[in-house]
Amino acid sequence: MSKTRRSEAERRREAMEQSLTGLGNLIHEQITNHEFPWIHMQSRSTDNIMYDPEERQYVLGPRMIRRHSRNIRHIRPFTQLVWTAWFAKELVKHRKTSTLREVYYSARGHRDIEYNNQQESDNIITDMEVALNRARENFHIFPEERSAIFGDLTIEYTVPGYEGRRTNLTDHPDGVMIGPAVTSSEFVETSADKVLVVEKGAMFTRLVEERAHDKFNAILIHTAGQSPRATRGIINRLNHDYDLPVYIFTDGDPWGIHIAMVIISGSANAAHLRGLTTPDAEWIGVWGTDIIDYKLPTEPLTEFDHKRLHELKNDPRYTGDIWQRELDVFLELEQKAELEAFSRYGLTYIVDEYLPAKLGS
């Protein structure tokens, strides 16, 4: 099983390399035919991003654009795209990984690539994702943010030097950082029957200490705020490939709610990507109603919170009953509560009382 899995990872890598070579061939051929090179891709402008209720995520609309090197405004980003594709191919070919920031600084080393800031470089990488219809992780380019995973899941590395080596994610009590190695690894086996996602490192540590993974037979993941794509990809794999139900536990405020929603329905920024959303994941708190039911200590909503809650109410992803209900409760209460609010009942209360109640329901 693991052998076929490993070759599966290898196959994906080779396909990526071919795809990049294909891009090179296309452009090379255009130049050889005395044509100004251009590529076709879906438009990422906001009016071409729409919510697809079927897919339960944001998707790109049908509008296509040409990035044409004949256009004086296009030629610089076009050049940057070609350079970035070459850089990605080098990464993929040599089984190396890099970060968005590294790509930016590598480009700075090439005088004609001319990025003014990292945002430009990140944008070009997103363009490449759209043009090649692949997530950047497939190009071996990762973001900076690091979240962590802990629980009974055995993985097998595919990164150079570690090929075939296995590890169990309970081996390290601080959890294992979700980086390129974990992202590209094969999942070998797990005894867990659910995934528990929390927003904050402190709560993650508390859950590990209280052996929540044993108690609930769960794999624990902390997102470190808004979850990185790699983390969303892993949540998706655990849910999709292993049929593990996913429960998300965030602060009881508009920002926490939205962390859960991005895991469930994705973000507009990743509308061109698939496999990052987990539509069946459940947000289990902290709800507005929990504030009442558990008499949680609260803080008043700020003006900014208020505005955000109203925005969410009109967001197509929030049409479900539970969402609308909870958003209304927060607005009525004019209060919000953090995960740590449960500590008023003792440090173990959340694991002993709250979560069992929530997961049981």
């Binding site: 070579t21 090179g24 061939n25 130049i31 070609v82 004609d112």
Partner: protein, 528 residues
């Protein structure tokens, strides 16, 4: 009670007493004016002869022991013009208000006193005679004279006649005067330079008191057409001119008189005009009363049926010659742009005039003139150097024109040259340094500058476009090789040749614009 003494004064005496109105107000200005008057006479003489002028001017300082700012100078000027016939020499150079200029055609001097004023000024400051050597091709006459100021006539001290085997033709004049060269040096040289600018067919040589040689070489042998002498136009005539014409006329009745002595007057016009003036067509001119005279002159202002004044008496420099002159004196190169415009003849108060304008800009102009607008003013091919901001040209260039319309910004380097030629330049003073703002003249000057400025606007637009295209080419030239290099690395192939693409960009600019339009259209189509 003392008795008031009445006495008539001669014109020479008058100008002796009022020399400042003729431009001899102080030693430095007098130096300038003397050179100017004599040089203009020489140029007129050469053009009348239809030979490209060769004028030699020398000012030498005369040693003296005085410890003053002013010095004595010897001023010598030689030309290759018509020469002055023997009998006219004493009057032409030693009598005020004598000259060849009392007919109606364009000439540099108008009052006929310029050259003589220089002689007069020299005489009263140094009490030295003037020497005039001239030949019309035959014998050479060498006069040494002084002006008898009280009687306004020449007193000849010497008159030698020499043989002229080489057939020399021209005039040489030498006088002494008090002056102040150091103060006027800059203006004087500027005057010569600008004279060369509007007389590009003239060779001017100047040796200054410090022994320095200035040569302004001609840029062409071509002369502008000689102005024709024409009869006066009725609109421009005054009572005195009318009176003189009547005194001289041989015609027998007023109808004939009008037709004979004025331009553009036929039997019908004469009849209608005299009817308006209330003068019988059969009246004998000599019997006209002074009241009739005034009535007739007043009627010339009221009668609207006269033809436009004849402009053949004018001699514009012409676009080609003016361009040659300006390019030559400003050292304009390929990197500069100049547009010259000669307008159609127009009239003010019955005097015909033509405005010519040139506008130049470019790298040399920036280097030599700096940012902003520099104005060169000319009237009947004479540079006007003083009182710039009082004149009509300054007003037209600075007040009447919105330069932004012509892509001229405050830091643009621009040279404007305006030449007005007329049988009567509307000078504001006898010093002839600036022109009054006659509405018709102002309008023509403004339009002439505008017309030339439109050329400058086209030039700027073209330059902007070229700059934009070369920027564009630079961008393609910079990025295409990178695209080629990395697409080759991606495809693991040889680097493709991008030269054909760069050729398209550099040679076929409209093609780019077309293609670009296509690309935009595709994007728009896709959005539908």
């Amino acid at each position: 009670m003392s008795q008031t003494e009445y006495q008539s004064i001669s014109p020479a005496d008058f100008f002796y007493r009022n020399r400042e109105i003729a431009g001899f107000s102080n030693p430095s200005r007098a130096t300038y004016t003397a050179v100017r008057e004599l040089l203009e006479n020489s140029m007129d003489a050469c053009e009348a002869q239809r030979v490209p002028p060769e004028v030699y001017l020398r000012i030498t300082e005369i040693e003296d022991k005085r410890d003053t700012e002013t010095k004595f100078y010897k001023l010598r000027i030689e030309d290759n013009g018509t020469g002055v016939p023997e009998e006219h020499i004493p009057k032409a150079f030693a009598t005020v208000f004598y000259g060849s200029k009392y007919i109606l055609k364009q000439a540099r001097g108008t009052f006929g006193l310029g050259g003589t004023m220089a002689v007069l000024y020299g005489q009263i400051t140094t009490h030295k005679p003037v020497q005039v050597i001239s030949s019309t091709g035959g014998e050479i006459h060498d006069f040494t004279m002084m002006i008898d100021i009280q009687n306004n006539r020449a007193s000849i001290l010497k008159h030698n006649i020499r043989q002229n085997p080489s057939g020399w033709r021209g005039t040489a004049l030498e006088l002494q005067m008090e002056g102040d060269y150091s103060r006027i040096m800059y203006r004087l040289i500027e005057y010569l330079k600008q004279t060369a600018m509007v007389n590009p067919y003239a060779d001017l040589t100047y040796v200054d008191p410090r022994g320095r040689l200035y040569k302004f070489e001609r840029g062409t042998e071509k002369l502008p057409p000689l102005p024709q002498s024409v009869k006066p136009h009725p609109h421009g005539v005054d009572v005195e001119t009318f009176r003189r014409l009547i005194a001289e006329t041989k015609t027998r009745n007023m109808k004939q008189f009008m037709m004979e002595h004025f331009q553009g007057v036929g039997p019908t016009t004469a009849y209608k005009f005299l009817d308006l003036a209330g003068i019988s067509t059969k009246a004998k001119p000599k019997t006209l009363s002074p009241e009739d005279l005034v009535k007739a002159v007043r009627a010339t202002r009221e009668y609207t049926g006269f033809k436009r004044p004849d402009a053949s008496c004018l001699s514009p420099i012409g676009e080609e010659l003016l361009e040659t002159g300006i390019k030559k004196e400003l050292n304009l190169t390929e990197e500069d742009y100049i547009k010259v415009v000669t307008r159609k003849p127009s009239t003010y108060l019955g005097f015909p005039f033509i405005v010519e304008a040139a506008v130049a800009t470019g790298r040399t102009v920036r280097k030599t003139h700096g940012a902003g607008i520099t104005i060169y003013r000319f009237a009947n091919r004479i540079p006007l150097l003083f009182d710039e901001s009082s004149g009509v040209i300054w007003k037209a260039a600075n007040r009447n024109i919105n330069w932004k319309t012509y892509n001229v910004e405050s830091d643009t380097s621009l040279v404007i040259a305006v030449h007005v030629c007329s049988t009567k330049i509307p000078y504001k003073s006898v010093g002839k340094e600036y022109m009054a703002d006659q509405p018709a003249v102002e309008r023509e000057v403004t339009n002439a500058i505008r017309e030339a400025a439109r050329g400058v606007r086209r030039y700027f637009n073209r330059r902007f476009r070229i700059a934009r295209e070369s920027r564009r080419l630079n961008i393609f030239g910079k990025f295409l090789p990178v695209i080629a290099e990395f697409s080759a690395k991606l495809a693991e192939k040889e680097i493709p040749d991008i030269k054909p693409l760069l050729t398209v960009v550099s040679t076929d600019i409209p093609e780019i614009e077309k293609k670009l339009k296509e690309v935009t259209e595709i994007v728009e189509d896709a959005s539908k």
